[in-house]
């Protein structure tokens, strides 16, 4: 949509910008909660061990570390009983055949029970949080209500709808601050060694949340690129330096191309080690380098640029966990960054809601700017979504799409090697991962899941001593 708006040269009204920011802010809150509790937590939390917990001690632990507004020994006893009934039924459902009891799980049973209870609370909270999207865009998932030129929800710019949004935002942000962040810190305190595992080298963020029509200057989460972990050397990236390589990807050709000239012509071959093609993902590079994108990249860029809220959050978290700033470049740093930006972005949403209220109050309900399709044009839309940097490139000819290419976060993070043999970020991050049991590589899941991949990917584990190759599918 931003790519088309850029191509046709339309500036969206203030209200449309604010509503898009609100919808997208809600997406960040929602996605990050679901990622932490439902797609990543079980890499650190042993649900079965929660059955051994003492509910009274769990309640005490929760009172000390968590701000959750449900708790107490009766609550934890009930949760434990519910899990016990479930396990005793012999039908373990989605918890079947996992790595329970693995030596790399470090939480005591009480912490596991607290996390399991919050896993359930978070499932319910996320279903309610999604209603923010329905208010201004009809439904979630797959919002409808965003169109080239603005948004369609002019009829919903009413006090009752805005109040409904505000109420759900408040409940969601309260969960982020009182439950998600304390849980994140509690779990992290048992896994500090992961502050030195799973890091990468280069980081890029297109940035997101324009607070005026000036981009990138007004972006709340700023745009920037960091090479070789040099925070002081943070630079402003330009879209012209993006290329996508296909040397090792199942597409025709060898040459790296800029997305405006990009092609997607499949050419599948059997998997061959050494120099063959091995991935459906292309290999994006910024100025020739692979870059990690996502929460950690955004937080590092913001931190390097002296972003007030992000800097305070990062510094206080490092202090609480008593780890050095270098611990950010890790699996733990990535998982923590996701939580910290949820706080900053979620807090900022209140300001946007109030801006919308002020506009409506003074009678400004403009939500759409009309436009005309040119015969020929090209455009680019750059932003950051919860998983990372997203770019869309469109070329229009005869009022129709002549070429459309997008480079999405999981392409940046999970792309393969390029023509110079340079590794993709996840490939790089996995090097040196300690693995206690090659048949149950829980540790690999931790790093891969920390990127929040939007892809089922194949990771091959090789035991150097036994020379045995294990294939692990990360789901």
């Amino acid at each position: 949509m931003r790519a088309v708006e850029n191509a046709v040269g339309v500036k969206i009204p203030d209200n449309a910008r604010i509503i898009r920011n609100l919808l997208h802010g809600a997406q960040f809150q929602h996605d990050h909660i679901v990622h932490f509790y439902h797609l990543h937590a079980l890499d650190w939390v042993d649900i079965i061990s929660a059955l051994k917990a003492d509910p009274a001690k769990t309640a005490t632990l929760a009172d000390n570390v968590s701000g959750a507004d449900v708790g107490g020994s009766v609550y934890y006893k009930n949760v434990q009983q519910r899990l016990k009934t479930f396990v005793d039924s012999g039908q373990l459902g989605p918890f079947s055949n996992a790595y329970w009891g693995h030596s790399a799980y470090k939480l005591p049973p009480e912490a596991n029970l607290m996390a399991a209870a919050h896993y359930i609370e978070a499932i319910r909270l996320q279903a309610r949080a999604a209603r923010m999207h329905a208010i201004f865009a009809g439904k979630n998932p797959h919002l409808q209500g965003l169109v080239v030129g603005g948004v369609t929800c002019v009829k919903d710019l009413t006090p009752d709808r805005i109040a409904e949004f505000l109420y759900i935002w408040k409940e969601t942000q309260s969960f982020v601050k009182n439950v998600y962040i304390p849980d994140l810190l509690a779990v992290a305190s048992f896994y500090k060694d992961w502050g030195a595992i799973g890091g990468t080298t280069n980081f890029m963020a297109w940035g997101e949340f324009p607070e005026s029509d000036q981009e990138p200057d007004s972006l709340y989460m700023p745009r920037g690129v960091i090479n070789k972990r040099d925070l002081a050397g943070v630079k402003m990236p330009g879209q012209d330096k993006v290329t996508e390589h296909v040397m090792r990807s199942w597409y025709e050709g060898k040459d790296a191309k800029h997305p405006y000239k990009g092609e997607t012509k499949p050419q599948y071959s059997e998997y061959k080690p050494d120099d063959g093609k091995y991935s459906w993902i292309k290999a994006p590079r910024y100025d020739g380098e692979s870059c990690e994108v996502g929460p950690l990249a955004r937080v590092l860029v913001a931190y390097a640029k002296g972003h007030k809220e992000i800097k305070a959050l990062v510094d206080s978290t490092l202090k609480k966990l008593d780890v050095p700033v270098t611990a950010l470049f890790s699996t733990l740093g990535r998982t923590a960054a996701r939580g910290l930006e949820s706080v900053a972005i979620g807090d900022r949403m209140e300001k946007w809601i109030m801006e919308l209220v002020e506009n409506v109050k003074k009678g400004d309900t403009k939500t759409f700017q009309s436009w005309e399709m040119p015969d020929k044009a090209e455009g680019v839309g750059l932003n950051d979504v919860p998983r990372g940097s997203l770019g869309h490139w469109i070329r229009i000819e005869d009022k129709k799409i002549a070429n459309y290419q997008y480079v999405v976060p999981s392409t940046w993070n999970l792309g393969p090697r390029d023509d110079k043999g340079k590794l993709g970020p996840v490939e790089e991050a996995l090097i040196g991962t300690p693995i206690a049991d090659p048949k149950k590589p829980l540790e690999v899941l931790r790093t891969v899941h920390s990127f929040d991949p939007c892809i089922a990917c194949g990771v091959h584990v090789i035991d150097a001593e036994a020379d045995q190759v294990y294939k692990v599918k990360v789901l």
Partner: protein, 313 residues
């Protein structure tokens, strides 16, 4: 009665009042098109079956939006569905197992529940070049579907992709993607939508648990209770259509007045679904209420047949 009271006590423990629960059952019963005498029976279905019915959920060519949609179910919440109502034996997004252990789990679950499990399929199946354009754990979607689906008690297609091919099958369809019923030559129960409203899957499952059979289906395999009428026929803006009151530009005074979106390309007249009555996310809204024309996302071949969007057809 004793069992029932124990059930309500359990609900209260989880913060659900008896009143809320009965309201939900009434809503669901109405969505399913059953008479109100079924309300207590619907409640019974949720009251804790001894052996939870096994479900195997397969992901093929899709975006996981249909799974996400089910996770937005509020009555019952997803944790109730997973812990108390169903036994979700295999589901790639939510299962804790990975890699070999996940593949092994699929094999074991199929073997153990042969002829008894409900197979829910999300996504279309690649058929070109023996299906190499879609694989899980080294096996093609095609192989997995051929092996697993025929052993199920019923195959439910969740979403437009598994039901009708969806975006994967849109022209020029480079991967040769097709719907499950086309590929396997079987009849499937289809719950199309991009993604569908979770209430329609829950309603189908409750029908199955309650009456021991699947709900009545139309010629495209869709349950009548959800897909029996067009969006247009149930649309609260229908009177504006009759009165020639149309929106011709987004953000306009007509749009603010909630006029008919037909001239903005609304496909409500050609689309069979219950969006206007069931609405999404706990009845919060639906696309037309948010001022956006229906794009016909639950109809077969909608990417080819319903486009260009935003233009009157």
């Amino acid at each position: 009665m004793e069992k029932e009271n124990a059930f309500y006590a359990k609900l209260e423990q989880r913060g659900v009042s008896r009143r809320n629960f009965m309201q939900y059952c009434t809503y669901l019963t109405a969505t399913m098109g059953l008479s109100s005498s079924f309300v207590p029976k619907v409640a019974e279905v949720f009251a804790a079956p001894k052996q939870r019915p096994p479900v195997i959920w397969l992901h093929f060519g899709e975006c996981t939006g249909c799974s996400e949609a089910l996770l937005r179910s509020q009555y019952p919440y997803p944790d109730d569905l997973v812990l108390e109502i169903l036994s979700v034996e295999y589901h790639e997004t939510i299962m804790a197992a990975a890699g070999h252990q996940a593949e092994e789990q699929l094999k074991m679950a199929v073997k153990k529940n042969k002829g008894k499990f409900i197979c829910i399929v999300e996504g279309a199946i690649s058929t070109k070049d023996n299906g190499v354009y879609g694989m899980v754990g080294g096996r093609t979607f095609l192989e997995i579907a051929k092996e697993v689906c025929p052993q199920a008690a019923a195959v439910i297609c969740m979403g437009t992709c598994s039901s009708f091919g969806g975006i994967q099958a849109a022209k020029p369809n480079p991967g040769g993607y097709k719907s499950v019923s086309e590929v396997l030559g079987i009849k499937t129960l289809n719950i199309p939508g991009c993604p569908p409203n979770p209430i329609n899957l829950v309603g189908t499952i409750v029908n199955y648990l309650l009456l021991g059979k699947l709900p009545n289906l139309d010629d495209k395999g869709r349950p009548y209770f959800a897909y029996g009428k067009t969006v247009h026929d149930q649309c609260p803006r229908r009177s504006h259509f009759e009165n020639d009151e149309f929106v011709t530009e987004f953000g306009s005074e007509e749009a603010a007045s909630g006029y008919c979106l037909y001239k903005m390309g609304c496909r409500g007249p050609d689309t069979f679904n219950n969006c206007p009555t069931a609405k999404f996310n706990d009845g919060t809204s639906w696309p037309v209420e948010a001022g956006h024309p229906c794009i016909g996302c639950s109809q077969p071949d909608f990417w080819d047949e319903m486009t260009p969007f935003y233009e009157e057809q």
